[in-house]
Subunit: 509 residues, 2 copies
């Protein structure tokens, strides 16, 4: 047995990592395997390891029980197998475990703490300059977001003509000096002049992403990793099946053990005509086989939805299909798919020329409330014009919009529900009404949202016997006004403004 | 032959009226008939007359040619028939004739002048106090509206508990002192304590409405007469077929000759369960038989549309079916019905408790532009809270909202099109694009609307050879900024605000 150093202690839902020297001849990414078996009283998990360059192979593992673990490392990467044991301690600090689907429509951390997603999208924030990444993390630290969508591969598109900080493969990119704001579209999905070895990863690229995943974890933010996407000028979207599978296995071996990782198979899968449904299903099978932690899995559309009823899809990640109506359809989507609904991409707050990137902060916040009161969740994004083309949507940096702090306010309201999330109920046709999922009529909790309607008052009635506390919420001005207690049929005066909500909670005896 | 006085001259599309003394025994409304035959070189029209009380029968006629007419009056109303002739002079002043469907989707006056409807609704403005009616007419005179929807019967509903200035029948209404804001709903469609003779009209009620129709005509406003409606506590919505038909005949005999009259068979026909499709079809047949001028005919829904493909329906009068989306569906409605689309009731600007009556002025104006740029028209209404329950929507009076003057601005833009109306065309997915109906590619006219989207610029391309004049229109601030001429592919800088439009017109050589 080889002597290797490894931590003798790790906390539950933390990452246990082993690094083992191994063979470097040939192509270590394809010629050699490394795997680990981790055993404790309550679980037995096999994971693949990966080659991390410079003669080092690594195996990572996330323990789910606080007890003693033994491990054995094997594979042809080395002639000398190794084994050992370590102790798993209870989780500390803000470690609540991975986020799971808790009750059909909502999420919770594995320890039971509620998780109400308030996500944003910064497609390639981690591939920008160090200074910009630092700024992004600072913004995230001070912002409301607890999930971020971003890509493993670099992005090529309008406002995305620059080079990423690193590439995922050994090789050389096309000459990007030929790109202009006028001609960039003709390079989308094309890859003239690129020279990559799709069988030799650039470990530094992935190490960096791991560092970013950990930085997000420190901030309590889930990393909704977009593993494939169409906005490509390097050929990463057009690899053959063998290389795709190699990539998926590598990504899983490296990233799966971080408890804040979610698998987003694609951004806009339907804009990748070179991939078929059988390709996506094969990738899904690889994840299901190789990710022993059953991390959340989604696949995001541009126009037609992927069939979200597929069993491997844990929740619906939906881009709006209609300019005018999307968050308003959440109840129908719930009914159809019986899964949590997250609307990622309901247009971005901003002012760029594209219709997907120029709604107001007020409209963004309205869409979030429409989604939340229908028992789902919306996702944020921002595309304000910037002299250096630094748009939060792709590059991160600073936020310029009006919506983020109001989204934090919505999160506060959600955090004050007595359950894991909201469920739409039918009250007036001209209000969006919610109670707590699965707790009717026990909860005595009601949230009414009036969207762009501006009633001067509304009447309510629940029963004749209980007292109800009424609060008038201005979702834009972020105020909560306590109106005291009411019984029977009662009227609540409202200010005749847009974006008002009313929260009504039964007073306990 | 009897000697009667009558005008010897009337202008084309004006009203020629004869009053003849006749029998008063029995029930003159049902026992006796009066009819007139009007002949000129180019037309021969038979019309019913009507009993106007106090021993006077009247016959009205609208001539459509400027030439000499002969008439003969007959019927059992009198033992002495009469006849005569008169001269029809060309139309004067702003008399452009009746409004017609001109080209499948749009309207024009009979003389060919375009008519772009900008309508409003004041359900029973004409049944309020004299002072309030005067105020309404003053408001209309200074406002943008060229069509108004209102009812022949009085209205009972929330904010409509008062007595009308007059009733259409002889008799006595229920005691309205029992009504409260809490109990009014249980009287809708019920009629306890009413005592009416549905076979004896109150001519003064109808004379007054005629006066109002003429006042509107003086202001250039079309009278979209709602002949039946469900918001009733007097039993007028529940008469039997015989009385209904008597009513329809009376209404047509009295009102049909006013050139600004449109027939709206019902407001919210589907909320009158006592009426069947065969009833509505029978009323339609009465109109088609008895109105010799073929005035515009529509029937308005609450929820399900009436089948607007019925041949007697000249244009679709549509209430929105969805809180969020309606004006955005105009192109689909055009495609489906191949008739002009008027969205009357897309929610009212206001702040009352009902969701149909509390949108902002900005949202109202946005809906008008969405409809217009899709080749249709929206209708205005206003329901601001008022200490004396005087809401424009039902009572008229003063306007308090932000939208009306912007609707006048939209009318100005429509008036500047080179045709009768707009036609939607497919350009970018994220803009609403229109050109002039039936004139492509001749017109060289394009109107782009960006709704709640806020682009900082947009690119356009039509051809490489023509110059195009570009104007940036702020539909809310009502400004038109001339940006000069462009050729080929060009970019227009925009302010990144909501509610912007761009008008592009080919420069003639």
């Amino acid at each position: 047995m080889a002597e290797i150093n490894y931590p003798k202690q790790v906390e539950k839902w933390g990452v246990f990592e082993l690094s083992c020297p191994g063979k470097t001849d040939g192509n270590p990414f394809t010629d050699y395997k490394i795997a680990g078996v981790f055993k404790s009283k309550n679980e037995r998990i096999t994971v693949d390891g990966f080659y991390d360059g410079e003669g080092i192979y690594r195996v990572r593992f996330m323990p789910s029980f606080d007890e003693e673990y033994q491990f054995e490392i094997n594979g042809n990467f080395s002639e000398t197998p190794c084994s050992g044991n370590f102790m798993v301690t209870p989780p500390s600090g803000n470690n609540h475990g991975p986020v799971r689907v808790a009750n059909t429509y909502h999420f919770a951390y594995e320890d039971g703490a509620p998780y109400y997603p308030v996500g944003t999208t910064c497609y390639v924030w981690e591939l920008q300059s160090e200074a910009l990444q630092k700024k992004t993390l600072e913004t995230l630290k001070n912002g409301p977001f607890n999930k971020i969508r971003f890509c493993v591969f670099p992005k090529h598109y309008d406002y995305n003509l620059n080079e990423p900080r690193s590439y995922p493969y050994e090789g050389k990119p096309m000459d990007s000096s030929v790109l202009t704001k006028e001609n960039f579209m003709k390079y989308v999905g094309e890859a003239p002049g690129n020279q990559w070895d799709f069988q030799r990863f650039n470990p530094e690229h992935f190490r960096h992403i791991e560092k970013c995943i950990c930085s997000l974890l420190d901030l309590g933010i889930e990393a909704d990793l977009i593993v494939m996407h169409p906005y490509d000028r390097w050929g990463f979207s057009k690899m053959n099946a063998e290389c795709d599978d190699l990539y998926w296995n590598y990504v899983i071996a490296r990233f799966a053990s971080y408890r804040n990782v979610w698998w987003s198979l694609a951004n806009e899968y339907d804009l990748m005509p070179q991939k078929t449904i059988s390709d996506w299903e094969r990738y899904a099978q690889i994840i299901c086989n190789k990710d022993p932690y059953n991390r959340l899995r989604n696949i995001h559309n541009c126009r037609p939805f992927y069939d979200h009823s597929r069993p491997w899809i844990t929740h619906c990640c939906i881009q709006r299909q209609d300019i005018y109506k999307c968050a308003e359809l959440v109840a129908e989507y719930r009914e159809q798919y019986k899964k949590p609904i997250i609307l990622d991409e309901i247009a971005y707050e901003g002012n760029i020329q594209h219709g997907w990137g120029n709604i107001s902060g007020k409209e963004m916040v309205r869409r979030f409330w429409e989604a939340a009161c229908r028992g789902g969740y919306a996702g944020h994004g921002e595309t304000y014009f910037h002299p250096e083309d630094i748009l939060w949507w792709s590059h991160g940096g600073e936020l310029h919009g009006d919506s983020p702090k109001r989204l934090g306010f919505l999160h506060l309201i959600l955090s004050e529900t007595p359950g894991l999330g909201l469920m739409p109920i039918r009250k007036g046709w001209d209000e969006i009404a919610a109670t707590v999922e699965e707790l009717i009529p026990v909860s005595g909790y009601y949230l009414f949202y009036y969207s762009f309607m501006r009633p001067s008052f509304r009447d309510y009635y629940f029963d004749d016997t209980n007292d109800y506390n009424v609060e008038v919420i201005d979702t834009w001005d972020m105020t909560i006004e306590d109106r005291g207690c009411f019984k029977g049929k009662f009227r609540v005066e409202l200010p005749g403004k847009e974006y008002m909500a009313v929260r009504i909670r039964r007073v306990k005896e």
